[in-house]
Amino acid sequence: MDAAAQFAERIRAADGGERALRLRGGGSKDFYGGALVGEVLDTREHRGIVAYEPTELVITARCGTPLAEIEAALAAQGQCLPFEPPHFGAGASLATVGGVVAAGLSGPRRAAVGAVRDFVLGVQLLDGVARRLTFGGQVMKNVAGYDVSRLMAGSLGTLGLILEVSLKVLPRPVAEATLRFDLPQAQAIEAMNAWAGQPLPISATCWQDGVLTVRLSGARAAVAAACRKLGGDLVDEGAAFWEALRQQRLDFFAGGEILQRLALPSVAPPLDLPGAQLIEWGGSQRWWRGDAAAARQAASRAGGHATSFRGGDKSAGVFQPLPAPLMQIHRRLKAAFDPRGVFNPGRLYPDLST
C-alpha cells in the first residue's frame, strides 16, 4: 500500500475526539499555531519531487519532501521559491513542503514578490472523509472552480491533508546587493514606503535598533543603478544577514518571552509599545516581545492584526479572533472539508468545529 493509501485509512479510522489526527511533516513549525492535539500522522513517508520542468516554472512535489531538497533541485537550475519560506528546523525536524504550504509563512522577499499563497498553483489533498481531490494544476492561469489550492496556504492542516503541491518558481536574481542606513524608526518607515513607490529593485528590508538594511535584487545594471541612487553603506555579508533574518537566527529573536507578529499597513507609524521591535516587509511585518492583548490592541488600532507567534502562553488563542460573519464562514468551510473535525483540532481556532 502506498503512503497516501495508508493516510486515507488513518483518516477513515479517525474521529473528532480521542482519535483526532495531528498532521505533521518535520515538526519544524510545531511551535506555531494553537494546540497540538491528536495522534501524529507523519507525512514524510510520502515524499519526492514528482515533476520539475524549469521552462514551465513549476515544481510538483509530495507533501513530505524536505524543503531543502526542493530548494537544491531549483538552485541546480538557477531557480528558487521566490517567497523564501523559513525552514525553522534542522536535523530530525527538517521542514517539508506540505508544511510550508499549510503554515503559510513567507520570508524576507514577501513584500516584493508575494506570499506562499501567491505561488501555489495546485494541490492534491485528502479531505476529512479521505476523499482524494485535485484542485488547480500546473499552469500559471486557472480559474476553473474556486481557488481551493490557495485556500490551503496558511490553513494549518485544518481543511485537509495536502498530498501533493505544485508551486510556481522563478529564476534567481542575477545580482544582489545589501545596503545599510542609520535611520530612526519613523524615518525608516517613511523611507521604505517612499522607495517602494519608485521603480527600484528592492527585494527585502529590515529595520532594527536605528539601522535600516535593504536588499536589492535583479539585473546587474538595475542593482548597480539603485545602489548609486540610494547611497548608504554597502554590506559585504548581505546574504548571511538575510538568511539569518529568514530563519529568525538574529539576536533579536533569541529568548523565550512570547514573540508577537504584527501585520500592518506598511505606512503605520511607529507603535507605542515598550521595548525593541524589528520591522520587515517595508513596514508591513513587525516583531515585538510582549503580551497578546497589548499587541492585538496596537495592531487593530493601526489597521492590522497580531499573532502570538512563538513561545509563551497560548491560552488566549494564538490568532486574533474573527468578526462573527467571518467566523461563521470559517466553520462552514471547515465542515465542508472536514465534517467530522478529524484534522488538527484547535490548531487554528479552538471552536472551528461545532
Binding site: 521552462t55 514551465e56 500546473q138 492561469k141 480559474v143 521603480p199 548597480a224
Partner: protein
C-alpha cells in the same frame, strides 16, 4: 437578515426557481431603490440580456442599479427572503456568460458604484467601488508614477468588481500577476445580508485566505461592494521585441527558450498568421504578414536593465530561428505593436459575423501541439480559427469565426470549442485561464473535475450562500448536469459520473 430562504444549495441538481413571486419581488424592490434604478420593462431589460458572450441570452425579471452598499444589502435581503436568484453585473464584458441573467431572478448592476473612494500614493493603494473601470484606476494613479498592474484587453470598459469575480489577467501578468496577486482586500455583502471584509491592507489576515477564494468566484459567493487594490510604480521605460517565425512550433519553442534563459518578460504574446492578417488592416501595427507566427516580447525596468535584457531576448530569439526581429524605437512604436494585439477581438468581429473566444491554458511546451491540433479541427468543422495567445502563461485565446445566421454554424462552433477545451485538459491544462466558466464551460468542468471535486466546490459555495441564490447554475455544474453532459460526450468509453441517474 430577518428571514431565511427556504432554498438550499446542493451538488446534485440545479434548483428550480419557477415559484418566484415576481409582483411581490418588484414591489419589495421598489421600496428600497428609487424608481429610476429599477428596470422592469422589456425594452429596458434588453441591454442586460447578455454579456460579452452574445450567443447566450436571457431576459431577467428585473434589473436593479445599485448606488451604494446599503442598497446592495437591502436588495440581497429581499431576494433572500423571497428566494429569488441574483446575478451581479459589472460592465458586462465577460466572455463566459457569467453575467447572463437568470430568467426567474434579478440582475444587480454595480455599474453606478464607480467612485474611487481613496487613493494613497505613499501606501500605494486605492480603495474603489466595484463599478470603477480597470483603466480608471491606473489613470487616477498615473500622476503619482503608479498604476494598477493587471491590464485585460477590455480595460477601458471592464469593472474592477468583474475583474475580482473572474480573476482577470492581462498581457503583463506573467511578470506582474493576476487580479489575485494585486488585490489586497475585498468588501462584500453575502446573500444573507452580512457585510464581510476579506483580506486587508496589512498583507495578510488571521484565519483562512478567503480573499483568494473570493477572487475568481464569478459572483457566486458574495457581491463585491469595495476593493482595495495594490498600486505599483511604473517602470522607467519599456520596450518590446517583435520576432517573426516561419513556423508556429518554432515560435512556441522560443517561448520556452526565453523562460529557460532565466528571463521573465513583462509580456510575452503570440499571434498566428491569420490573426496578424486580421488585425493589421485595422490598426497598422506594422506586423510581418508573411510570418507564420509573431512573438511580442516586452522588457521593462531602468534603461540600462532594459538594454541588457533586450540583448538577451534577441539572442535567444535568433537562436530559435526567428526570421526577423524588430525592437520598438520609442514609446509610440511600442504602443503600436501592442495595439494590434489588444485589438485582436474587435478585429475578429470585423472580419467575421461572429466569433467565439476560447480560453484554455496549457503547459507552454505544448503550444505547438495545440496549434497543430487546432489546424486539424478547422478542417474537421469547416470553420476558421485565428489564434492569439498569452504565450508566456500558456493561456490560449483561439477565436473561432462563424456566422450565427448560418444554420448549424453555432453548433459546430461549440463542438469545435469543446474539442479545444478537452484537449487543453488532456495536455495538462485547464478549460479556463481567465475568462471564467460562467454559463458556457459547464461541460468542460465535467471533463476537468470528478463528482467529488465538484461536490466540494458546491459545499464551498454553500458556506457563503447556503440558499444558493447568487448566480445559480453558473461556474460549477450540478452532478446531474454532468451526467447529462456525459451522456452526450462519453470520452473514450470512460464514464465520469456513473452514479448519477441519466435521462
Amino acid at each position: 437578515m430577518n428571514a431565511t430562504s427556504h432554498r438550499r444549495h446542493g451538488a446534485e441538481r440545479d434548483q428550480d426557481f419557477g415559484d418566484v413571486d415576481r409582483p411581490g419581488l418588484l414591489a419589495a424592490l421598489a421600496a428600497v431603490v428609487p424608481p429610476a434604478n429599477l428596470l422592469v420593462d422589456g425594452e429596458d431589460l434588453k441591454p442586460y440580456e447578455c454579456d460579452g458572450l452574445s450567443a447566450f441570452r436571457q431576459v431577467p425579471l428585473a434589473v436593479v442599479l445599485a448606488e451604494n452598499e446599503g442598497q446592495v444589502a437591502a436588495v440581497l435581503g429581499i431576494c433572500h427572503r423571497l428566494g429569488a436568484p441574483v446575478v451581479a453585473r459589472g460592465a458586462g464584458t465577460g466572455l463566459s456568460g457569467g453575467a447572463l441573467p437568470h430568467g426567474q431572478g434579478i440582475v444587480l448592476s454595480l455599474a453606478k458604484m464607480k467612485r474611487i473612494l481613496h487613493l494613497d500614493p505613499v501606501a500605494r493603494v486605492a480603495v474603489v467601488e466595484p463599478g470603477v473601470r480597470n483603466l480608471a484606476i491606473s489613470e487616477a494613479a498615473a500622476p503619482h508614477g503608479l498604476y494598477y498592474a493587471p491590464d485585460p484587453s477590455s480595460q477601458i470598459a471592464c469593472s474592477i468588481g468583474g475583474n475580482v469575480a473572474e480573476n482577470a489577467g492581462g498581457v503583463h501578468c506573467l511578470k506582474y500577476g493576476l487580479t489575485v496577486h494585486n488585490v489586497l482586500r475585498v468588501r462584500g455583502v453575502t446573500v444573507e445580508g452580512e457585510i464581510v471584509e476579506l483580506g486587508s491592507q496589512a498583507l495578510d489576515v488571521p484565519g483562512y485566505d478567503l480573499l483568494a477564494l473570493m477572487i475568481g468566484s464569478e459572483g457566486l459567493l458574495a457581491v463585491v461592494t469595495e476593493v482595495t487594490v495594490k498600486l505599483v510604480p511604473k517602470p522607467e521605460t519599456a520596450r518590446v521585441v517583435m520576432a517573426s517565425f516561419d513556423d508556429v512550433t518554432k515560435a512556441g519553442d522560443a517561448v520556452a527558450a526565453i523562460i529557460a534563459a532565466g528571463i521573465i518578460p513583462a509580456g510575452l504574446e503570440m499571434m498566428d498568421k491569420p490573426a496578424t492578417a486580421a488585425v493589421e488592416p485595422f490598426v497598422n501595427a506594422g506586423y510581418d504578414l508573411d510570418a507564420e507566427a509573431i512573438l511580442l516580447c516586452e522588457s521593462d525596468g531602468t534603461p540600462e536593465e532594459v538594454e541588457e535584457e533586450i540583448g538577451r531576448m534577441r539572442a535567444v530569439l535568433e537562436g530559435c530561428g526567428a526570421t526577423g526581429i524588430r525592437v520598438s524605437a520609442d514609446e509610440a512604436e511600442r504602443l503600436k505593436f501592442w495595439a494590434g494585439r489588444k485589438a485582436a477581438f474587435p478585429a475578429a468581429g470585423r472580419i467575421s459575423a461572429d466569433y467565439y473566444c476560447m480560453d484554455g491554458t496549457i503547459p507552454r511546451k505544448r503550444l505547438g501541439d495545440m496549434l497543430r491540433a487546432i489546424a486539424g479541427m478547422e478542417k474537421k468543422y469547416g470553420l476558421r480559427c485565428i489564434n492569439v495567445f498569452h504565450a508566456g502563461d500558456g493561456n490560449l485565446h483561439p477565436l473561432i469565426l462563424y456566422d450565427a445566421n448560418v444554420p448549424g454554424e453555432l453548433e459546430r462552433t461549440e463542438a469545435f470549442g469543446a474539442d479545444i477545451l478537452a484537449l487543453s485538459v488532456k495536455l495538462g491544462g485547464t478549460v479556463t485561464g481567465e475568462h471564467g466558466v460562467g454559463a458556457e464551460k459547464l461541460g468542460g468542468m465535467c471533463v476537468q473535475f470528478d463528482g467529488e471535486e465538484l461536490s466540494t466546490f458546491h459545499r464551498v459555495k454553500a458556506a457563503f450562500d447556503p440558499a444558493g441564490l447568487l448566480n445559480p447554475g453558473k461556474a460549477v455544474p450540478s452532478l446531474h448536469r454532468c451526467a447529462e453532459f456525459g451522456r452526450m460526450h462519453v470520452h473514450a468509453g470512460e464514464l465520469k459520473f456513473p452514479d448519477i441517474e441519466r435521462f
